[in-house]
Symmetry: C2
Subunit: 253 residues, 2 copies
């Protein structure tokens, strides 16, 4: 049977990105300010149309590079300095999610280390890192200093919440928390990542025992650093293990 274009309704397909990082002890997401209607002036997740000859993962990696300058981490390739973890999150296709037309958005989740330089390709007025708490708690509508208190555009609050939940659960049983760290990092820095993502305090001694005792999680690089103050700490890299067994336990409550 030949291809019959009338047999299916046409959709626009986009990728939206939940890009997370840990800055100053807080889990932050990348937000862009919309320059056009609908939701003009509101904050939204970065994203864009999938091109006609482009895979979904490719489109997400392209958008990520355009917005942040980060490369998607290729497990097969070499360890790049500016590499972020990128994975598909979920797909959102409510018929009314975009008032203009029928858009299906394949959301992706990216985890990036704290970027020393601001991202490329956007001016400071239209792109920012915002604490996810601020972005999600804006249903009632008040920012701290007359800041933009409107909720995220479209269904992006839901997408962001799903992405944050994915990140929170995935660092339990995988080594993904290292994606938030620079290439070399200390146990304390890794612990602060867990604390920021989970929003809890962890016992430094038990945490240290756990992560250094899990084979393949961390490999020492030999160096030490004192950038956090206090006694110098050993530097580590992410080891080859991707799944943690047994997992890190997220405290109750």
């Amino acid at each position: 049977m030949p291809y019959d274009p009338s047999a299916f309704p046409p959709f626009a397909v986009t990728v939206d990105l939940v890009v997370l990082t840990v800055r100053r002890h807080a889990l932050c997401a990348l937000a862009v300010r919309r320059g056009e209607s609908p939701y003009q002036g509101r904050w939204a997740l970065p994203g864009g149309f999938v091109r006609g000859d482009e895979d979904l993962a490719t489109a997400a990696a392209r958008e990520l590079a355009e917005e942040t300058g980060l490369h998607a981490h290729d497990p097969a390739g070499p360890v790049l300095p500016n590499a972020a973890h990128l994975e598909q999150l979920a797909t959102y296709g409510d018929p009314k999610r975009d008032p203009r037309m029928r858009v299906v958005s394949v959301a992706h989740l990216a985890l990036a280390p704290d970027l020393p330089a601001p991202r490329a390709g956007g001016d400071a007025h239209s792109v920012r890192w915002a604490p996810v708490e601020d972005l999600l708690d804006q249903e009632v509508g008040y920012g701290r200093e007359g800041e933009q208190a409107a909720p995220l555009a479209f269904d992006h609050a839901r997408i962001l919440a799903d992405g944050v939940e994915r990140a929170r659960s995935k660092i339990e049983y995988s080594s993904l928390a290292t994606a938030f760290c620079p290439q070399e990092f200390t146990v304390g820095e890794l612990r602060r990542v867990y604390e920021a993502v989970w929003g809890v305090a962890l016992d430094p001694r038990n945490f240290h025992r756990k992560v250094t005792g899990t084979p393949g999680f961390l490999v020492p690089t030999g160096g030490t650093t004192t950038r956090q103050g206090g006694r110098p700490a050993q530097l580590f890299q992410a080891g080859g293990a991707t799944l943690l067994n047994p997992p890190m336990l997220r405290p109750e409550a």
Copy 2:
């Protein structure tokens, strides 16, 4: 800025279903035989186009009902007799995955109890439950009795593998295994579900202690049954808990 149809390439959007059940000690998936080109005569996952005014979850539930007569389980609604668990799995959008046109498929995962009656809406020649092992091990190409040994159509082997992996991991930390059981079931039946999905043997005594000791997982209905032979077993229903803490541990290997 008004809606500009030329600004994005049109896509067809479909839902494909990985419907799993446990039959005769084996994890089985629903497969349909393709009646048309491409891949005519090959087995594929059930699925179809998303309609113009339909949500993705709605489309998946509609396809599920059309193929199996099962309802998608609504957590808010009453417990229906023929209810299956349904969740979004992942989205597949390789530009070449369908030779006819650009199709993005939002795969969903459904977990159903073993259906006493064959499914409605399809004749026996074009729909069947097949052990996932058979469906996935056909890359080399030989079935047991001259059976259809060709691999699944399109990228459906990959989708099925992803769905199976999701199910395998999700029954570890959630109560989803009960979705494979009838409304009332015994601990032994639940154990056989785990054994079939994971492909391992579990100690009946430790399993019994674990599931009956996890609060909210199982609630006794008071009845007993002897349908498995041997000493009568207590009947249970799924309790309210959806997350198991601590999780069921899948044996190493």
